[in-house]
């Protein structure tokens, strides 16, 4: 038995690591390939874009697609910086508000007792499944009735209550041990203090994941610009990129490739900033 015990925790993993790499590396390459492709695609000149069979790597990188994109943008009455500014405001507001709202609601649903709790969670699950297309017109009517049509609020308010976000965050909070909260309560911490000092730090990975989901849903959203706004000056970058690349011309293809890359650069930046908190899952954040 004692001999078996020494085997349990080998200090060196040299040989054991090899099979893991054998699996991981091919799959990683397989999954990473499209990302490399998108970047290469944006820099392809016209003849390479339409080459058949399509080439994976660009052989004569050029900025012509980006130039076309910005030229078309310069031709329109509203400068592209305006769209960027709009997108920035809307995105920051939605991500912050939706995180605050979902963590608060998640805390209540996961750790507190009150009447109608389960009903509320069921409502969330129903909203989770519902087809967004079917609620766009009722949403339009609501926004019109509230009188926020054609304002920033029309971009922000419909998106801040994200059912998926709440669902994920609530499930993570379920795993925070109750004893931790009881201990905090014994020390005299109130509900808000527990929320701020215990719950939020412990569910950081879930919050970061939720933030990324919220970011995505708002950053590439074209629907709010399309339906809830009518003046061009209030629309977002995602919408603008969509209209530019939607032009069915030969140039449009290249511009679409460039636009796709421009749209995903902020995603990448956000991920690099957040990655430590996303990846450091529960074990490192003081939970058993």
């Amino acid at each position: 038995m004692a001999i078996g015990g020494t085997k349990v925790n080998p200090k060196k993993f040299h040989k054991n690591q090899i099979p893991f790499y054998l699996y991981l590396i091919p799959v990683a390459v397989f999954m990473g390939a499209p990302i490399v492709y998108i970047i290469n695609h944006a820099f392809k000149p016209m003849d390479e874009l339409f080459a058949f069979p399509p080439k994976f790597f660009v052989s004569n990188p050029s900025l012509i697609n980006f130039r076309n994109l910005f030229q078309t943008a310069a031709g329109s009455s509203i400068p592209i910086s305006r769209y960027i500014f709009n997108s920035f405001i809307v995105t920051v507001a939605v991500v912050l508000l939706s995180i605050i709202i979902s963590t608060m609601a998640g805390f209540a649903l996961s750790k507190m007792k009150f009447k109608l709790k389960n009903t509320i969670f069921e409502v969330n699950n129903l909203a989770l499944m519902f087809v967004a297309t079917a609620v766009t017109i009722p949403r339009y009517l609501t926004i019109n009735a509230v009188g926020i049509l054609d304002t920033y609020w029309a971009h922000i308010l419909p998106l801040i209550a994200m059912p998926v976000c709440l669902f994920l965050i609530k499930q993570f909070m379920d795993q925070v041990p109750d004893s931790l909260l009881e201990a905090a309560q014994l020390e005299g911490a109130g509900a808000f203090r527990i929320y701020w000092k215990v719950i939020l730090p412990l569910t950081k990975p879930a919050i970061a994941t939720g933030a990324i989901l919220a970011f995505q849903s708002v950053w590439t959203n074209v629907e709010t610009s399309n339906l809830f706004t009518s003046s061009e000056g209030i629309r977002t970058l995602g919408f603008y990129m969509n209209t530019l690349s939607g032009v069915g011309t030969v140039q449009g293809q290249g511009m679409a490739a460039a636009a796709a890359m421009i749209m995903f650069v902020p995603n990448l930046l956000l991920f690099v900033v957040m990655q430590s908190s996303v990846m450091n899952t529960m074990a490192y954040s003081g939970m058993k």
Partner: protein
Amino acid sequence: MASKKNKRNPHDKRRLTKRKLREWMYGYIFILPWLIGVSIFFVYAMVQSLRFSFSNIIFSNGITFNALANPWDNYASVFMKEINFPITLANFGLGLALQLPIIIAFSLIIALLLNSKIRARSVFRMIFFLPVIIATGPVMQQLTAQGVSSVPMVSQNTLLGILQGLPEFIYQPISDLFSSLILILWNSGIQILIFLAGLQKVPSTLYEAAKIDGASGWESFWKITLPIMKPMILLNSIYTVVTLATGGDNEIIQLIYDVSYAPTKGYSYGAAMSWIYTAVVAVILLIVFLLLREKSDRRVKYETKRPDLKERRQDA
């Protein structure tokens, strides 16, 4: 008197004590902002769309509700007249049945690999999570348009050649599966993350104890890892079904969108269709839940097993 009664039976649920009320109040305070948002933009909107689906609405200077001869007309015509709908729905169901196990198994395997002690672990973790960041609307459009989302041509053709003999309704979803395999794997980023979080909570002493008892890695996967991961598998399955069912590249969503804004069919018709679709998704989720939920007796078993294992380890 009241306090005495309360003391005797502190868990009496029907009694409204002051403390309970205070606890409720905090619950409501915390849930309120979310509740307002959801009531206005989801619940109210959903109720409206339900109303729309039972009438024929026309938009011109506001909305006019035209009553239908039979309130269920829209629903009936979805089934009777819309040929595409049942077919697309069936395809979606089949596709889901194929994709869900693949995504769950794939993300569990990747999470297990990423949880093992290897070098450059964080780099791999990033690569597998990266698709979640990048796979947004315009990028995805580009990828599917360029056909990068499929397995390289050669292997795809060989594989499909083998399957050629199968009947059409089996062959079709499988070939679709191969043509979008990368996209499916790309959908696993969040799932991998959730599994990783779960795996890191499994106490390593459990595995050590099992090893001393002579369990192989394979056995401890089935007897320790899998039972502990069961709630995570359920969570992931639900999340996967929901994202697949409501994602923008879903054919049914596209169909509903087209129908809703088509001049001949109209919004009420689309609303009826989305309610049918929601019901179908709800049924699928219910099936998933019933299949994967944690049975209470099994849980008890696992919990009694644990101290048992620990004891033996101490003995050794």
